[in-house]
Subunit: 328 residues, 2 copies
């Protein structure tokens, strides 16, 4: 099936735009519900960071380094590069006797308004610590340090990436459909959106073995520190706060969004084919309301989906709407 | 027909995303070529500013006020709010004995990096002069002053908007399919993408009457001052510079783009249904190359369409591609 119409933009009583995509709800055995093409091949991008963090825990590297819950949350984060993120990742590297130069994620201006202002107004350049993936890369370096592996940890043939590839195969129950280079230079394994939802269902119903315990610790870290996983004003942070620790969610570039719902033993994956983040955020909010884990009346639902869009003078000019048949 | 696939995003040898939309090339009499649905109803948003400026010239208001070519360019602009734009619009208002408070466009942070830095680092708030539509609104006020009309010039029943509605009907040769409120609070009349392309073809082959002379002056103003129509680094400015005054182009919110090509007597209109600006910019560049008015080897074509996408470490991670059948 082709991509389904999921989110519409309305203005003046007319449909001004539409976002198409794919969404799957999975219970670990079967697809519970799907929109669009459940076999569509996607790049999960940053939505799979909790999968990429599994080797760090399963290898014993996290415990050997004495990593805390905050560090586990940062290892799954696409953070804002706020002071709280930069300081914690910097201290993490210091603790390993490493520094910013050991990261391989590259530099970009932080999304956090205050930190961006501080850099701009002091004519300072961002460091790799500001990169939204710096916590994931610090976790990568913890694995590298524990394994005594080489410094070029984002190379596809580095043993860390081999371990991540194996963990990805295990939890998605698929072979990768391909591999791309992510914005942070790490390999990103493509697969079906059903495979991604299946993996999130595995995180929602962890077994009692080492992998299950690793999954539990990562989900608990994400839901315990939502502000470390993204930042103030970000959808991931506000959604996890709204659900008060019951659900872990994670966004990815090009409009991917996942949810891990332990109380329902469900995994959810959304991909908007045009990469429109406003639509992936609206779609995951709609699915979380649909599944009964997010209060339709919570302000974050209004912010991401149901509040009217206002212009520069505060006039209501349009709105996002759910397309017919999504979610029901 | 549904929206057609126009622009694709590729990563790691796989298609990561796709932008669908509609595009029409019109010669003033007939549709020369179309992709997607030529009857699709769209909001032109800021792509129709040269239509909204027609009453200012046709009424004699522009000449009565002694407006120069720079002001005509600003009246068609979605500018960056750089100092050059803010100063000129401010002087324009001063010349009418009016001020920033007489504008009805609202305030937003300027897109120009230097001006945004100046405001941010001095804890100053943007004024309505920074609004990308402030030049259009100054033109509106010139019409209002000449007509002795009321101050609330963005109200749908204000005589200025009645005049703009009439001009829109004339040049699109359509009745509006609806009306919305734009980001700058002005009414925006919806119509078919073919109607918008037909209107741009009229600007490309102006008659010898008053309207034709107004069209000629507006197109010449846009192509003479591309930096006033948008700003440094913006697609409109760089495309018009690359075509050295031969073609006028204008973007609009939610991924609309038009082109006026006098030497070919053609009008072009593009709408990406998901509002993705990267795709509308790539699509208009592809159509301008296709029509032989933009050099495929010009750097702006690389920037908007054909150069590899690089990540924060400068690694090539993906690329935009033209979908099969677009433009040929």
């Amino acid at each position: 099936m082709p991509a389904a119409e999921l989110i519409e933009l309305w203005r003046g009583g007319l449909r001004e735009g539409v976002h198409r995509g794919h969404a799957v709800i999975h219970d670990g055995r079967d697809v519970v519900a799907a929109w669009g093409e459940p076999d569509a091949v996607i790049f999960p991008r940053s939505s799979c960071k909790m999968i990429q963090a599994l080797p760090m825990l399963e290898s014993g590297a996290a415990d050997a380094a004495g990593l805390g819950v905050e560090q586990l949350a940062l290892s799954c984060a696409s953070h804002n590069g706020a002071a709280r993120h930069v300081e914690r990742v910097g201290e993490w590297l210091d603790g390993m006797g490493l520094g910013e130069a050991d990261l391989r994620c590259g530099c970009h201006k932080p999304w956090d308004r205050e930190e961006a202002k501080r850099l701009t107004c002091s004519d300072a350049v961002p460091s790799q610590l500001h990169n939204n993936c710096s916590g994931k890369h610090a976790g990568f370096l913890s694995w590298v340090r524990h394994a005594g592996a080489g410094a070029e940890y984002v190379e596809l043939d580095h043993p860390l990436q081999t371990a991540i590839r194996q963990a990805t195969d295990d939890v998605t129950q698929e072979e990768p459909a391909g591999v791309g280079i992510d914005g942070c230079s790490a390999p990103n394994f493509a697969g079906s959106i059903t495979g991604l939802a299946r993996a999130m269902a595995a995180f929602a119903q962890p077994s009692g073995d080492g992998r299950g315990r690793a999954m539990t610790r990562l989900v608990e870290a994400m839901t315990t520190y939502p502000e470390l996983v993204a930042g103030e004003g970000r959808a991931c942070t506000e959604l996890m706060r709204a659900m008060e620790g019951r659900v872990a969610v994670k966004t990815g570039a090009e409009a991917v969004f996942i949810a891990i719902i332990p109380e329902r033993k469900l995994g959810v994956a959304v991909k908007i084919e045009d990469g429109g983040t406003r639509a992936s955020e609206a779609a995951i909010a709609a699915l979380l309301v649909h599944l009964g884990v997010l209060d339709r009346a919570h302000p974050v639902v209004g912010k991401l989906l149901s509040d009217p869009m206002k212009n520069w003078r505060g006039l209501e000019v349009g709105e996002l709407r759910l397309a017919s048949g999504f979610p029901v």
